[in-house]
């Protein structure tokens, strides 16, 4: 693990890059744009007793969400979908993990959350830490999260979209597609960047270098999830999940890694620019 992330290795250290998707149609249908491989992999982990629970986020309404601790197939499928805000992993997590029946968990989060969990494992500062229970960390690719209120109020001010109407937001290429009341509004991504949290603008990590597995999408392969596997553990589970028929797993062509590297490097440059304003 190196920090800062070297400019010639914007994805950090990794073992291999895969393209994957869920074998199960019903998981794929729940997804927008990606292959549902993370959901299927987590499902494999729960059903094969690799972990007792999965901690992840679920969208409640609009762009807000909540933390869920999923212990069964149904609970996990409920939580599938791209998340648009960083959710405080606080009291709920502490509460869930102090539950004696949970011995091992898999965590799904954004690169910052993965970093904090990894740090917790790397240096257990507190004895009350539950770092021993964290078995597997999945980080999702992240360009940054919006300062929710500022972003929603700008949508209202500029385009007259009421925050309660927003049902989904996702990225297609360089545009942000906002779905509301059966309508769609397309915004160029660079216009929305100022409404991101400053903490995200200074963040250099696109893929989540502090994780076992990073997951995201590639525009060249819609319908597939790009997986960057970083540890022996994740290699093992991916292969096993593929053998047991949970996911379809392919080695990714080189240009996929290049595409992700370009995005990761762009985030590093942005981070450097904003960091000089802060320091």
């Amino acid at each position: 693990m190196a920090y800062p992330i070297p400019i010639d290795k914007p994805l950090g250290e990794y073992k291999s890059v895969y393209l994957a998707r869920a074998s199960d149609e019903s998981i794929r249908r729940r997804r927008i744009g990606s292959g549902g491989a993370v959901t299927a992999l987590l499902l494999y982990m729960i059903e094969n007793n690799v972990v007792d629970a999965v901690v992840t986020a679920r969208r409640t309404k609009g762009v807000t969400g909540e933390i869920v601790v999923a212990r069964s197939r149904e609970e996990l499928l409920e939580a599938a979908g791209t998340k648009w805000s960083v959710l405080p992993f606080t009291l709920k997590l502490k509460e869930a993990l102090s539950d004696e029946s949970i011995k091992k968990v898999a965590m799904v989060g954004l690169p910052c959350q993965a970093q904090f969990l990894w740090q917790m494992k790397l240096f257990p500062v507190l004895e009350t830490d539950f770092s021993g229970k964290i078995h597997f960390i999945v980080s999702l690719f992240c360009i940054g999260t919006f300062a929710t209120e500022a972003f929603l109020s700008s949508l209202h001010r500029l385009y007259g979209i009421n925050p309660d109407q927003v049902s989904g937001i996702h990225i297609v290429g360089d545009t942000l597609v906002i779905k509301y009341d059966n309508n769609e509004k397309k915004i160029i991504l660079s216009e929305a960047i100022p409404y991101m949290q400053l903490g995200c603008l200074v963040c250099p990590d696109y893929t989540g270098i502090f994780s076992d597995l990073s997951a995201g999408i590639s525009e060249q392969f819609p319908g597939f999830t790009v997986l960057i596997s970083r540890s022996n553990k994740s290699e093992k589970y991916l292969k096993d999940a593929a053998e047991k028929g949970y996911i379809e797993l392919l080695k990714a062509p080189v240009h996929i890694a290049e595409e992700i590297e370009i995005k990761a490097r762009a985030k590093m440059i942005r981070a450097q620019k904003y960091m000089t304003l802060v320091l």
Binding site: P4, L93, Q115, L126, Q197, L279
Partner: protein, 230 residues
Amino acid sequence: MEHKPSILVYDLGGCEGCPLSILRVYPELKEIADLYTHHLGEIDLDKEYDVAVITGPICINEPEDIDILKKIRSRVRTLIAYGSCASVGGITLFCRGGQEPRPEHRTFQPISAIVNVDYAIPGCPPAPNLFIALVNSLRGGRGYFLQLFASVARAKRLSGFDLLDNIVLTGLCISCGACIISCPTNALQMIDRKPDLIVEKCIRCGTCCVRCPRFTQVLIQKYVLKKEVI
């Protein structure tokens, strides 16, 4: 460091939580390092050690302790401040003189006020396993762990107050909640999706700062990388 390192643990005083936390992993520790501490018998300060680990703060009204600290610094290659008091001041920063049981002790400082410290590790006290992680990192020689704690040694002071000033009030906070989970005294609470400090509860241990994904990034950028650029 390929051989088994010899480690001197020297306690400057305080609540003894840090030496105790180290002793608790002694069975595992003796496999990977040779440990020398008061708690295991006599120690010889004239001997040379690979690493010295100092626990407890330095009282700058105590010339004897200052001399010992300087002597240890001159004898070892790597000096580590272990625990909040030694690394960032901790609760002893609240001492203001004239207080029982030792009214002549007026000002306590992190040991980096007196000598150069290579790595400073906060925690009140750091969990026993942290010491194992530390020894393994030292033997590895580099990596994120050492980089972060080298920057803490240069920052000298970290607390909930610094977290608020440097991260929350500058707008760098991303509301991940790492600080709130980390606080040993529950001095931080989430208000409107941002952490807020209950000042009376903060013991200035610095745990929240080394857990925050943004603060660690700022620390490394500010203290470790800048030096390399110059």
